[in-house]
C-alpha cells in the first residue's frame, strides 16, 4: 500500500482552496482596525511606579466577601486572562461571585534594572495586599498566582501567611529541576551573572526566542498554516491576531529579579529546599498553612505537571487540593474547555472556604 494516496484532482483542489482561503483571509485581516488588550471593564485603584492594581467591574455584586487578588507573571502581559469576550478567565471568575483584583506589573525599563524579587514580593505585592485589606477592612484576602506569579504568591504566602486566607496556584513551577523540564535543562549552565551584567534588563525578545524554541515547528510553522483554514471567519481571524499580539508582547525583565529567579529557582532549585531568601527572611513552603488549590495543565510544555505537583510535598497545610486540566500552558486560560472547568472549580473551592 502507498503511504500517501492523493489523487491529482484532489491535489489541485486542495491547493486551489488553500490559495483562495489565504487571499480571502487577508481581506478579513484588513478589516481589523485595532486589537484590544482585555475585554472586562476595570478601574485602577492603586498605582506605584509602573505597577498598577486594577479592580474589575461586574454587573453582579460579589457574593464572596473576601476579594481575590490575581498575581500574574512578569513574563508576558496579564491580559491573557481576559483575552476575549467568551474566553475570559476574569469574566468567569466574576461570574462565580468573586471580587477580582489584578496586578499589572507594567514594562520595566533600564531605570528598573535593580528591582529585586524582594522589591516585587515584599514591596509591590505586599502593598497591594495591604491596600485591598484596608479597603475591605479584612485581615486576610484570597490570592491566585499564575505561572511565575504563582511562584511569587507561594513566596508571599510563606512570608505573610497572616494576610492570605486561601491560595490558588495556576501552572506554577515549584520543583524547577524535574527531568522533563526542557527550559530548565537549557538554563542550567547559562552564565546568568554575565548575562545580566552585560544586558542590564533581559529583553522580552530573548525570552520569547527561548519559549518559541521549545516547540519551534508548531509555534513558528504549523500554527500559521493551520490558521489558513480558520481565517475566513473575521471573528476567528481577530481572535488569532489577539493571541499573536499577546505572544509577542513580552516585557523586558528587571535584571536583578531575572538574576535571582534564574539562579535561585532554576539553577539551584532553592524553593523546595527552603533556601530562598527575600528581604533577609527565608522562604519556607511549610509556612503555607492556609488552604491551597494547585491547578496544573497535563500538556504544559513550559511548566511540566511534575514541576507543579511537587508543591504537595512541601506545603504545611492539611487542606491541599489538586486540579489537573487536560490542556497546555496557554489553553488553561483561553480554551473553551478551560472556561467551563477551571474558573467554576476555583469559585466552588473558594466558596467552601
Amino acid at each position: 500500500m502507498l503511504p500517501i494516496t492523493i489523487r491529482p484532482d484532489q491535489a489541485t483542489e486542495e491547493i486551489l482552496n488553500f490559495n483562495k482561503k489565504l487571499a480571502e483571509g487577508l481581506e478579513n485581516l484588513k478589516g481589523i482596525d485595532s486589537i484590544s488588550t482585555g475585554v472586562t471593564p476595570f478601574e485602577i485603584v492603586y498605582q506605584e511606579d509602573k505597577m498598577v492594581l486594577v479592580r474589575y467591574k461586574s454587573d453582579k455584586k460579589p457574593t464572596n466577601k473576601v476579594p481575590l487578588l490575581i498575581v500574574y507573571a512578569l513574563v508576558n502581559r496579564p491580559y491573557m486572562t481576559d483575552i476575549q469576550e467568551n474566553r475570559s478567565t476574569i469574566k468567569s471568575l466574576l461570574d462565580t461571585g468573586q471580587d477580582v483584583y489584578l496586578i499589572d506589573w507594567g514594562y520595566p525599563d533600564r531605570a528598573d534594572r535593580f528591582l529585586t524579587m524582594d522589591d516585587y514580593i515584599n514591596g509591590y505585592l505586599d502593598r497591594c495586599v495591604d491596600f485591598i485589606r484596608q479597603q475591605h477592612n479584612l485581615d486576610k484576602i484570597n490570592i491566585l498566582g499564575i505561572c511565575q506569579g504563582g511562584t511569587f504568591s507561594l513566596c508571599y504566602g510563606s512570608l505573610h501567611a497572616d494576610k492570605v486566607r486561601n491560595l490558588v496556584a495556576m501552572v506554577t513551577p515549584v520543583d524547577f529541576k524535574t527531568p522533563d523540564n526542557m527550559l530548565s535543562s537549557w538554563v542550567q549552565n547559562i552564565d546568568v551573572d554575565l548575562m545580566v551584567d552585560t544586558l542590564g534588563n533581559v529583553s522580552g525578545d530573548l525570552l520569547n526566542w527561548t519559549f518559541l524554541s521549545l516547540k519551534p515547528f508548531r509555534l513558528m510553522g504549523q500554527k500559521y498554516l493551520d490558521m489558513v483554514d480558520a481565517i475566513n471567519s473575521p471573528e476567528r481571524a481577530k481572535n488569532f491576531m489577539r493571541m499573536e499580539k499577546w505572544i509577542f508582547d513580552s516585557p523586558d525583565q528587571a535584571g536583578e529579579t531575572f538574576r535571582q529567579f534564574t539562579k535561585d529557582f532554576y539553577q539551584e532549585n532553592k524553593l523546595i529546599k527552603g533556601e530562598v531568601r527575600l528581604g533577609g527572611q527565608s522562604v519556607n513552603l511549610k509556612n503555607l498553612s492556609m488552604p491551597v488549590l494547585n491547578i496544573y495543565a497535563t500538556e504544559d510544555h513550559l511548566v511540566p505537571p511534575k514541576a507543579s505537583k511537587a508543591l504537595k510535598e512541601h506545603v504545611g497545610t492539611k487542606d491541599y487540593t489538586e486540579l489537573a486540566f487536560p490542556g497546555g500552558h496557554i489553553g488553561i486560560y483561553v480554551s473553551g474547555k478551560a472556561h467551563k472547568q477551571v474558573p467554576p472549580a476555583i469559585g466552588e473551592w473558594l466558596r467552601a472556604r
Binding site: M1, L2, P3, I4, T5, I6, R7, P8, Q10, A11, T12, E14, I15, L16, F18, N19, L22, A23, L26, E27, L29, K30, Y46, Q47, E48, F114, L115, G123, R127, F131, R133, N137, D162, M182, S185, W186, Q188, N189, I190, D191, L194, M195, T198, L199, G200, W209, L212, S213, K215, P216, F217, R218, M220, G221, Q222, Y224, L225, I231, M241, E244
Partner: protein
Amino acid sequence: MSEKPIFNWAESMQQYQKAYVDACHAFVDGAKQPENPGQTQASAKATENPWIDAMNNWWQSTSGDSSDSSREFYGKMVDQGKAFLEMTENFSTAFQNAQGSSPATAAQLKTLIEHATQNFQNVFSNSAWQMPLSNWQHVMSSMSVLPGDGFKGMDIPLNFNQSDLQDNIDKILSAPGVGQNREKQEQQQKLLKLLMEYQSAIQEYSESQSEIGNLSVRKFQERLTEIANSNDTKPLSSFKEVFDCWVDCCESVYADYVMTDKYAATHVRMVNALMAVKQLGRRMVDESLGTLNMPTRQELDTLHYRFHEIRRKDKAQSKELGDLKNELLTIINTQAEQIKTLQEKTIAPVAKEPTPRAPAKTTVKKAAAAKAGSAPKRVTRKAPSARTTAKTKEA
C-alpha cells in the same frame, strides 16, 4: 481595499491551474510531466512551481495595502504557504509514477519514500523554518552595544573547517601589545578572540540544527513506511495531512534531541559566547563615551543602584512610620479607655454624695468620651493608613 488584486490573482491562478491540471493529467496517464508547467503566456519568468509563482505575484500586489502588523503576521502565513506548496510539488513529482499501483517490494517503497522526502529539509529550512538560529540572530540584532547585524555576517557554511585558521589567528591574537596604545591593542585582540569563539559556537549550534533536520527526515521516512506496511493506519490523503505528519516527526525528534546534554552544552556555549562579546563591547563603548565626556552606562547603573537603595529605605521608613502611628493610636485609645474606666470607678461613688462640685465631673467625662470617639472603629495592625499609602505612591 479594492478587489482588483484578488481578481488578478484569481485570473493568474486560472492560467496556472490549466498548466497544473495538464501536469496532473500527465501523472494519471503516466506520461512525462511537462518540463516547465509554469511556462505560460501570462508569466515569462514562471518557476517550476506555478502555484508559488501565483502566490508571489499575488502577495507582491496586495501586501502594500495591509497595515504593518497585518503584513508581518500574514507574511508568516505566506511563507508557510510557499513551503507547503513546495512540499506538494515534491510529493507530486515523487509519486507521479506510483499512483494507482503499490510498490512491488520493500526496497521500491523505500526508494520511493526517500525520493519524495529528500528535499524536505531544504524546503523548510530555506523558507519558513529558519528558526531557532535565524530568530536568535534577529533577537541579537535588536540588542544594542555591538550591532547584531554585524553578527549576521557571521553566517558560515557548515562544511567550513576553521581549526587550522583558528590556531594561526589565536597565535597572532595572543601576541602582547606594544607601545603607547598597548592596552587598546590588547582589548581589540581580546574582542577578536571572543568573536572567534562566538563564531565557532554558532557553527556548532548550526550543525546541531542541521542534525535535527536530518533526523527528522529519517523519522518521517520511517513513519511513511509504517503507514505503508500497516493495515490499520489510513494512508495520508491530503497534503495537509502530510504536512502535519512531517511537523509531528520534527517536533518529536527535536524534543528528544534538545534534552540531551550535548545540545544543552551547545546552546549554553552559544549564549555565553555572545554575552562575553557583548560585555567587552559594552566596556569599549563606555570607554569611548568617557573620552567624549558623555555619561556612560556604568555611571547610569551606579546612579540607578543608589536611587533604588534610597527608595527602599524611604519605603521602609514610611512603613515604619505608619506602623508607629497605628501603634500610637492604639495606645491612645487604650489609655482613653483606661481613664474612662478609672473615672467611672472614682467618680461614681462621689456622685452619690450631693456636693456643689458636680459640674467639674461632667467636663472630665465629656473630654474622655470625645477622646474615645476619635479612635477608628477598628485598627488594622499591619495595613498602612490612608496617609501612609498616599505617601508611598509615586507622583
